[in-house]
């Protein structure tokens, strides 16, 4: 479970969150939408403990948080397998078990044959698959996804979304917060949506029929990112 209670956070004197409150229930898959720079990633950073609110409370009931970043953030001197092992070892899994689990995810993510490749020998899509493997391998109870496919082309984005969908189907006891500015992308995974607007105001809604949903979002966002595509 994730809960924000009256959170206030300012950057350079400008409040980005002001009395922001919301809750994500256990095992819920929630999409967090909002235009660029509105503070979506900051929410994930506060949940993962990378940054703290100036005031208010961020309650996170979790022992293992998986995080899929916008860019893969792989360790360049570690192979694909070792990168997946990193998260496991950090969580206290011994080397042998970590290796076995990592190889299992290498297969699941269709990376067999590339397990001993270094990140600079992998394509962008492969690197992001390794980063997905690193996040799922630890068996997280909370999974944070920060626009993980925004840098990929549409075909690759579609394929990776399919992989994440499949993995989520196998890990049902997982709370997921999926940040994006693309409602179509998020609607493939999330059941509930939070829309973050200026000042940390959060509006909650559920998706309706596809067209009206997009029209509604376009209206709320007033952002060029939402032209029909």
């Amino acid at each position: 479970m994730i809960e924000f209670v009256s959170v206030y956070k300012a950057f350079n004197g400008r409040p980005v969150f002001n009395q922001t409150s919301f809750r994500v229930q256990k095992n819920e898959v929630v999409g967090l939408l909002g235009r660029s720079g509105v503070g979506k990633s900051t929410i994930l950073r506060m949940i993962s403990g990378l940054t703290s609110p100036d005031s208010g409370t961020v309650k996170v009931n979790s022992s293992r948080i998986g995080y899929i970043f916008q860019e893969p953030r792989l360790i360049p001197w570690k192979t694909a397998r070792e990168n997946i092992c990193f998260g496991l070892k950090a969580m206290g899994v011994n080397s042998k078990d970590a290796k076995d689990i990592a190889l299992e995810y290498i297969e699941k993510l269709d990376l067999k044959g590339f397990e001993n490749h270094y990140p600079n020998q992998l394509s962008g899509g492969m690197s992001q698959r390794v980063s997905i493997g690193r996040a799922f391998a630890i068996g997280p109870d909370i999974l944070l996804m920060d626009e993980p496919f925004s840098a990929l082309d549409l075909g690759l984005k579609d394929a990776l979304l399919g992989i994440v969908q499949e993995m989520l189907a196998h890990h049902q006891s997982m709370t997921v917060l999926y940040v994006s500015h693309d409602p179509e992308e998020v609607s493939r995974l999330a059941k509930r949506f939070l829309l973050l607007i200026d000042g940390g105001v959060i509006q909650e809604f559920s998706p309706g029929p596809d067209r009206s949903f997009k029209r509604m979002l376009r209206k709320r966002f007033r952002n060029r990112n939402f032209k029909n595509r």
Partner: protein
Amino acid sequence: MPAVNLLNTKTRYGLMGVCLFFLAWQALSTIFHEIIIASPADTLLSLIEMVQTVDFWKNVGITIGRFGLSLLFGSLVGFVLGLVAGLNKKMRWLFEPFRWSLMTMPPVVLVVVSMIWFGMGSIQTIFVTALLIIPIIYVNTIEGIEAVDASILEMGRVYKANSRMLLKEIYLPGIGGPVLAGLTLSAGLGIRIVVLAELLGAYSGIGYEFSLARTNLDTPALFAWIMVCLFLGGFVDLGILNPIRNHIMRWKAE
């Protein structure tokens, strides 16, 4: 195919440089008296004579030993202090006057001072050389730490990696490149300083042989010892440091 061409070009130009070096040397040796500049042929003959003596190998061994110990101590101390200062700004500010002093002080001054402290011999040679290697490795270690990708460190923190794991898995491998560059610089400097310290304050080693050759006005021997120093430097760089560098930085190969 382009890589092969590049390698060929590199080798070609390298060989041309070596030829140019020997040609210039030969030309200068014909212009100046043999006491001023020994010719490549005389130098080679002198070198062949020298390598047949026990003293040659004994002195080369002594210098290699002193150089190795200096590099080891200097690198270890520089690395540890660099790690401490790289991870803690206050310690860096504290060490800054020492770094500045060591990097600014002329090596010959340090040799003279250490001769007063330790007398003639190995200790003063190792002390001075190690002391001058410390700031090079120190600065390169700090640079390496600063160059570690902050986003990877952040990833490590999200996955709850403790400080020990961050140091072992991210910081130490991440600073490998700059530290190796520092080691290459230190190796080159180390040989020069060891020889200088031996020349001024020891009764054995290559530097001592330099001083003997100078006293006897044996210019071919002097030049032969210069060649020995060049071989030694080349061996350390190409024979030891390069393979280590290639192994540690193998992840950069495409």
